[in-house]
Symmetry: C2
Subunit: 461 residues, 2 copies
Amino acid sequence: MYTELPATLVAELSLLLGTDGWRTDSTALDANAQDNSWRRQVPLAVALPCNREQVQAIVQACRAHRVALVARGAGTGTTGAAVPLQGSIVLSLARMNQILSIRPGDRCAVVEPGLLNGDLQQALAPHGLFWPPDPSSADICSIGGNLACNAGGPRAVKYGTSRDNVLGLVAVTGTGDLIRCGGAYTKDATGYDLTHLLVGSEGTLAIIVEATLKLTPVAVAQAGLRVLYRDADAAAQAVSRVMGQPVVPTRLEFMDARSLQLLRLNGADVPDAGAMLLIEADGDHDTLPYLLQGLANAAEGEGMLALDVAMEGAAREKLWAARKALSPALRSIAPGKINEDVVVPVSRIPALVSGVQALAAEFDLTIVTFGHAGNGNLHVNILYHPDDADENARAQAALPRIFALTLALEGTLSGEHGIGLAKRDFMAQAFTPETLMAMRAIKSALDPDGILNPGKVLPPR
Amino acid sequence: MYTELPATLVAELSLLLGTDGWRTDSTALDANAQDNSWRRQVPLAVALPCNREQVQAIVQACRAHRVALVARGAGTGTTGAAVPLQGSIVLSLARMNQILSIRPGDRCAVVEPGLLNGDLQQALAPHGLFWPPDPSSADICSIGGNLACNAGGPRAVKYGTSRDNVLGLVAVTGTGDLIRCGGAYTKDATGYDLTHLLVGSEGTLAIIVEATLKLTPVAVAQAGLRVLYRDADAAAQAVSRVMGQPVVPTRLEFMDARSLQLLRLNGADVPDAGAMLLIEADGDHDTLPYLLQGLANAAEGEGMLALDVAMEGAAREKLWAARKALSPALRSIAPGKINEDVVVPVSRIPALVSGVQALAAEFDLTIVTFGHAGNGNLHVNILYHPDDADENARAQAALPRIFALTLALEGTLSGEHGIGLAKRDFMAQAFTPETLMAMRAIKSALDPDGILNPGKVLPPR
């Protein structure tokens, strides 16, 4: 591990990238030291390439010197995947942020990785198209970061995650080679599927330098239902019913009783209930009422307290504002938050929710559960005061129990945040040794010297 | 390369598998020697394991002796992917054909690879669910084969291919290790995506022993449009318009003028036209008319001659019977047929169709083009008489030009058939040397001794 970069490497890269592209000043180092996990490690330098050839040259130079290289988008990830280990160079894709083409006839766009998700959506709007992944950071996160972490969001239940919405990639592997896979087409049985392999690999296999994204036409009308239930179990049963009938909702969000309490404490106009579902559909003005009726029929059942239809406009905005207010509300209750994004089969949501509440009681912690129920992807938020050493210790002790519960329910560690550093050490519980060995073999195949984002995704041997 | 298997290997595997599971009689060898590509090579033995432990033991034994092992489903593939090279053992999954569970609440089924696609659909029907991949061989092809080749079919335009409809796999790699990835959930950002990597790898990376399949609720109503156009270009423009609006058709099939002529020659009731689209939608009885209207609006335009609505029942059956009659009709015109399944961006379909017709003129061949236009996936059928040496030679000479045309239009070699032996030698035109090198590295990572289906997918070095 380097504490200082080799002089020949510095000379080569500073010449290649110029003063704007090779930064070692504290402003640049600080700005690239952490992500939204609040983990922090200052890199030795920040490289800001302008094109794929520069990315190749940087990788090749780092490979020659065995220097760790951490690809970075906008730094909004929550797992530390973009936080360097000691002795690393950060490769920021901030300057590779162009839309290379929008092809409405092929329902795709070709973009550079540093482009912000929000900027892409703005550019697509005049074409009546959108790119489905909608993490809560959509305005400020990058497409490359979305792909690297397989970002999702509420719309994934109908439109899929980042992995489901990419058709092709150009990337630089750990050998410095440029590879190209997939393209502007939606069906492909030609060779190994490198495209989907790279999505979610968090910059550990290759650095994405271009992506062909699958676009979807914007539906002309949306509408939502707000459904209150006696308890979490009744709401979870309704989720199973909704997902078992033909109308796929565009969003299907679950909030437990504590989520609703927190919303009310913060002044939101939400009635008292054991749990709530927000269920949304899209279509056109003719079909939407029928779709909504299908969803409402499925939402109704044992334990339902009330169902409100919020059609387009202000009522719908208000409904979603309540959901979006939840994350800030958590921060106002407790300054410390461990936000996990576990996934279970939809039929196991009731067991997950009740299991989490049992852990909250056992560890005397406030745990708030809400999220993307249609995908079985729930955000389990352990709230605590970092200054309270005892509560802090209980929060840290509860976390592995939540993962163990999830895995016992045949679920998995992450639905949309990724692994990074935060969940890396739980990978050995999630996968058999043989499966991890296969993942390591693939890592070695594409990054034989282990220079790309070392220490992330896979646990130390 | 073995011309006879090592006696110790034979002793080990015949003891392991018994007389029903270790077959060297000519009936078994002949039955496992070819696929629907009509390529043929008799294996040295056929192993028929009953469970994953036996698959592991077979792979480990073959690895110890460096014997090539070819996984085989139902042998309906068209590329020779399941045809052994000389000196191989075929591992038939015919006896591993059980449905392990159907989980309607989780919209998934867990199955063994030898299960036939048609048998799965029958078992799902009472639950109101289906598995989307619908190759024309659906009744008699296996799920494992569908996954190995990333099979598609007409429904893929709305519901995706095999790769889009698998949630998890259990597989045995070339090291004999059992790996498990994914599961009964629809969102996953946990480690490397081995699941989608194995789909389409044609048994060259691992042998699938269990699959968790994503299921879709059956829509209550379907209806179709038959639209005639002046020429292929007008029809192809309509395809772009249809795919550019929000209603996604469940099937969008294109037939060129020669396809229609062939249908008429065989007595089908199809009017004279330059090209035809069959466009289908599904939904419920309330919404379907609106969906169909949206598709009809998009289908209308310059060069459209006639549009007929065929609602449910007999009219719809008749419409699809015409489409299904096409492949047999081809065989009646000429005994030789090279059936490719190239893919281009939807906007390039007009250029593909006119380019193919130019090649037909240049090589004085009958080439019939039809297929899954919504995915840009067209079946280009070169018809010839194998006994006519000159015509045969012209057919073989036209083939690489069709691939070159496809690649020049930013397309790719295969949309749903795979590569196998048939298109292996064109891979070096489809991918850069660096990309092929990355694929080879992944092959070596999961099958270090190269025993799994050698000689397929990747071209010889």
